[in-house]
């Protein structure tokens, strides 16, 4: 028993040290592109930490969004900003300022660490309440229960935030390009190996994404995880030139983008009539309703995430 504990502790210590080392390197390295590569590695390691914290649901989201999609977003930005004039030495703060900043940041970290150590010992938890009320939602995964039922309003508003962010990104387009295709022109002759991968991977990815949505009702997984995977697969096809991004003016695209929040709101409003409040589900239909919302959400999440990475419209569709 003690051996197992020691090994587990050594594993966790190694993991924590590696995460911090990669984070430090990401901050101090000179080259931006290399720092982003470090950031993707960081995201992957943080997903491992989430597994060690017994939160596989979060680990999936972190792996998909934290490392994967955010990484690709920042990589694209780093690549496109490469031709742009970088900061000069004069813009770096001086040594004194850096030392003072370092000391202040260390103080913030120390305060957080102290708070961490002084937390009350029988930790307060809502797990028993969640477990007690989970049966009324019909789903078996407590995280899905929290996201879709207990704190459904948070999830709904978060979807609205996603759509607002996309509107924000699109509104950065030049007037002449409004309604056009997002992202820069891709070269016409992508690598054959890349095309092969982009043909092979998306079907598998779609199956796994749908599987994660389906299993998310009772096991770790759900609309976020599935949607992020679908977004990654769509982006992969776009990178290989197999799928053109849709013009942002497309009505069908906009329908997909708002489908998730719209279905959520509609079922939420129906809650006034069928149950007793906004976003309340009638008990007998709770699980099917949650799954319907999740399917719509997954499609909207996938489309929104991919288009957020693709960026504002920059060229008109070829006519």
């Amino acid at each position: 028993m003690t051996i197992a504990v020691t090994i587990a502790w050594a594993f966790d210590a190694l993991l924590a040290a590696t995460v911090l080392a990669v984070a430090l390197w990401t901050i101090v390295t000179r080259e931006t592109f290399a720092a982003v590569v470090g950031f993707v590695a960081f995201g992957l390691l943080v997903a491992l930490v989430w597994v060690r914290l017994a939160a596989p649901d979060v680990a999936m989201v972190e792996a998909a969004i934290g490392g994967g999609v955010t990484g690709v977003l920042l990589l694209g930005a780093a690549a496109r900003l490469r031709g742009v004039e970088a900061a000069t030495a004069a813009e770096w703060p001086g040594k004194t300022l850096r030392l003072v900043t370092g000391a202040l940041c260390a103080a913030v970290a120390a305060a957080l660490a102290a708070t961490m150590l002084l937390l009350p010992d029988p930790a307060p938890t809502l797990a028993p309440e969640a477990a007690a009320n989970l049966a009324s939602t019909g789903v078996g995964n407590p995280i899905t229960g929290v996201l879709m039922a207990f704190r459904g309003l948070d999830t709904l508003l978060e979807k609205v935030v996603l759509v607002l962010a996309l509107i924000g990104v699109w509104s950065l387009a030049q007037d002449s390009q409004w309604g056009g295709l997002p992202g820069p022109q891709r070269q016409a002759q992508p690598d054959q190996a890349l095309v092969f991968l982009a043909r092979l991977l998306p079907p598998v990815g779609i199956v796994i994404g749908v599987y994660l949505l389906w299993t998310g009702a009772d096991e770790p997984g759900g609309a976020f995880q599935g949607g992020a995977l679908l977004a990654a697969m769509w982006l992969l096809a776009m990178m290989a030139g197999l799928a053109a991004p849709p013009p942002v003016g497309s009505r069908r695209l906009r329908l997909v983008l708002v489908a998730g929040p719209a279905v959520f709101v509609a079922i939420g409003l129906a809650g006034f009539a069928l149950a007793d409040a906004f976003l309340a589900y009638p008990q007998a239909y709770a699980k099917p309703l949650i799954i319907v919302i999740e399917i719509a959400l997954m499609l909207s999440i996938a489309a929104t995430l991919a288009l957020l990475v693709a960026g504002p419209p920059e060229r008109m569709p070829p006519r």
Partner: protein, 93 residues
């Protein structure tokens, strides 16, 4: 057995963490991408080994999504390296 699996997971993690020194040293961007690729594979192996060691079956699903996303990220790295001529082609207008 659980101890062995966890120890093996720790060993693989230690190895790929050592491999990260390549991200640090470079020198070429290809070397950095390789280190990230190795970390991806090693991370997946670590997850697969942790799953039976801790009895959290969902860990395998994490590995599954990671396997897809590691490939995706590597492709994006390679695309990013061919970036410098990309913006000029579009911004030149």
């Amino acid at each position: 057995m659980a101890e062995f699996l966890l120890a093996a997971a720790g060993f693989v993690l230690a190895m790929v963490a050592l491999g990260l020194v390549r991200i640090l040293r470079g020198p070429a961007i290809a070397d950095r991408i390789m280190a990230a690729q190795l970390l991806g594979t090693g991370g997946i192996a670590t997850l697969l080994l942790i799953a039976p060691a801790t009895g959290m079956a969902a860990t395998t699903d994490v590995a599954l999504s990671l396997a897809l996303l590691a490939a995706f990220a590597s492709v994006a790295f390679v695309q990013g390296t061919s970036g410098p001529d990309d913006p000029e082609a579009t911004e030149g207008r």
